[in-house]
Amino acid sequence: MSTIGTIGEISRTGARTNRAAQLIGVRLYGLLLILVLLSLWELSARLGWVVSAYWPPVTAILRAAVGELAGGDMLDALASTLRRAAIGYIVGSVVGVVLGILLGKSRVLRLALLPLIEIIRPIPTPAVIPPLILFLGVDDALKIFIVSLASFFPVFTNTISGVAAIDDTLIQTARTFRIGWLRTLVSVVLPATLPAVTAGLRTATSLTLVVAVLAEMIAGSSGMGYYLVQMQYALRPDLMYAAVLYLAIVGYCLNRAFIVLEARFVPWIGKT
């Protein structure tokens, strides 16, 4: 297996054949399936199988999506969503990795803090927005906090289990050679947990965008979440679906980019 944490990579069984051709070849049916589904959608809207103001034909959505490229509110909305998602993701991931390693290494810290973290996990954000407003206001801080909280959990959970799974002999060896804790951390613990950490980071990647949009739906003055709701009320389902389309494309690209970066920077993943 070439990378952990994705279904987007093919196994090595056919690595000797032309990879690029295989990449498309193996997905040919899948791409056809999507085309068939989209055609069904188009037909159902055009022929009146589904009658609703909120079921525009696919072509209308595509037209709206292309139209927005020439100038419109959507790209601005997308940019502001991505900015919030990115800041939240970075903050959440950094805190997740740091706490994950600390709690993974120290039993006392783990016993003391893990319950608190687990308590926060099931709390749905929309429920706690009023009290959060007291501390964070209604602007970006609120939404970025919500995003960072959402990306924190998968990163943290994966990191802590990654640290726990480190072969004890590695640590023992480091200790035998009297390697300092910082060097042990950087040269032993981090590389060994990196596969698990990246798996968490990947889960967080797709989650961040989703949560950023959700937060904007509830409390946004800008961004894709706000835009989606506004277009619903403005009787513009074509633009609404175009926004969903852009989100899907961006999400897909982020995931792809992640795989490429991972293969480059964490090449030892999956070589166990």
Partner: protein, 311 residues
């Protein structure tokens, strides 16, 4: 440790300049929902009336009203667009808000109960055993449709109320998931064009024709500390209202509303714009309060007189 981390995180965010909001002397931050009702506000903004008063008005639109009043209490907003039922509930729970100004109340003429055509639904009595959609349980729409049903012979214990967002109501109706829906202007217009649907009634008109469902609110604390600012705001808003009244039926108003609601202009043209109410009516607020008490939304009387701000 974890708490400390959180604190660091928050401080970091603040440091990024995203949470800090310096209260500039001439700035007013207003939470709004971009609905046609707010046309006088947008008119005042577009025509520079706030600037004339030396005010810098910042609008913070949100898709729903969920954060308006919490945002006021938290100090993130100075003024919020809200409705009478939410404001009364807030006061009943110890959130000391005051109503500042009313809006053009087309509510009575453009908010309607919609049903499928040909099913003979005309009154509340016809809804017994049926499902009625409201946008939000226990809020203003719910309150008035229930009262309308009661007054027209319906038995509330035999009717199911479902919470459905306004944009989804018409589809739900056509798919027979619900039997009637209390819709707002845009969708009432859409329903009027739909051969499968019909307008049954305008509940506000029948229950309380002069009802003032929407208004601006602010906390009493803020108002007392910023009386001059509030008065200047209301003066400018008033001018916006005069412009609005003068432009009803004109292209300028349609263009303005289409601009901030993002609605197609031809839909805006069909809207039923009514002049701005001159002032907040205590008697109307009292009627709303009485309805809320009957439905159990309020346990005791609220001092409605103290809720209305007078410049």
């Amino acid at each position: 440790m974890f708490v400390a981390m959180r604190l660091v995180l928050v401080l970091l965010l603040v440091h990024l300049g995203v949470a800090a909001r310096a209260a500039e002397p001439s700035t007013l931050r207003i939470s709004v929902i971009p609905t046609s009702v707010l046309a006088p506000l947008y008119a005042a903004l577009a025509n520079g009336y706030f600037k004339d008063e030396g005010l810098n008005v910042e609008l913070a639109p949100t898709a729903g009203g969920a954060i308006g009043i919490p945002g006021l209490v938290g100090g993130s907003y100075d003024i919020a667009f809200s409705n009478n039922v939410s404001a009364l509930s807030a006061v009943a729970q110890g959130i000391d808000v005051q109503l500042l100004a009313p809006f053009p109340d087309g509510a009575a003429d453009e908010t309607a109960v919609i049903a499928r055509k040909g099913e003979g639904i005309k009154t509340g009595r016809d809804l017994n055993g049926k499902v009625v959609a409201v946008n939000t349980n226990k809020n203003v729409i719910w309150l008035y449709v229930r009262e309308w049903i009661r007054q027209t012979g319906g038995d509330l214990s035999k009717i199911t109320f479902r919470e459905v967002a306004f944009p989804q109501m018409l589809d739900a109706l056509k798919q027979k998931q619900i039997d009637a829906a209390f819709e707002i202007n845009v969708f009432v217009i859409a329903a009027g064009k739909d051969p499968a649907l019909e307008i049954v009634s305008f509940p506000y008109r029948e229950v309380q024709p002069q009802v003032q469902p929407s208004q601006f609110v602010a906390t009493r604390k803020f108002i007392q500390g910023n009386k001059d600012k509030i008065d200047r705001f209301l003066r400018a808003l008033n001018r916006g209202g005069e412009w609005f009244d003068a432009n009803i039926g004109k292209d300028e108003l349609f263009a303005l509303v289409a601009g901030f609601t993002k609605l197609p202009v031809d839909v805006v043209r069909k809207m039923n714009f009514q002049p701005v109410a001159k002032k907040l009516e205590l008697a109307e607020l009292d009627k709303t309060m009485a309805l809320m008490k009957r439905e159990g939304l309020l346990k005791a009387d609220v001092d409605t007189k103290a809720m209305i701000y007078t410049p």
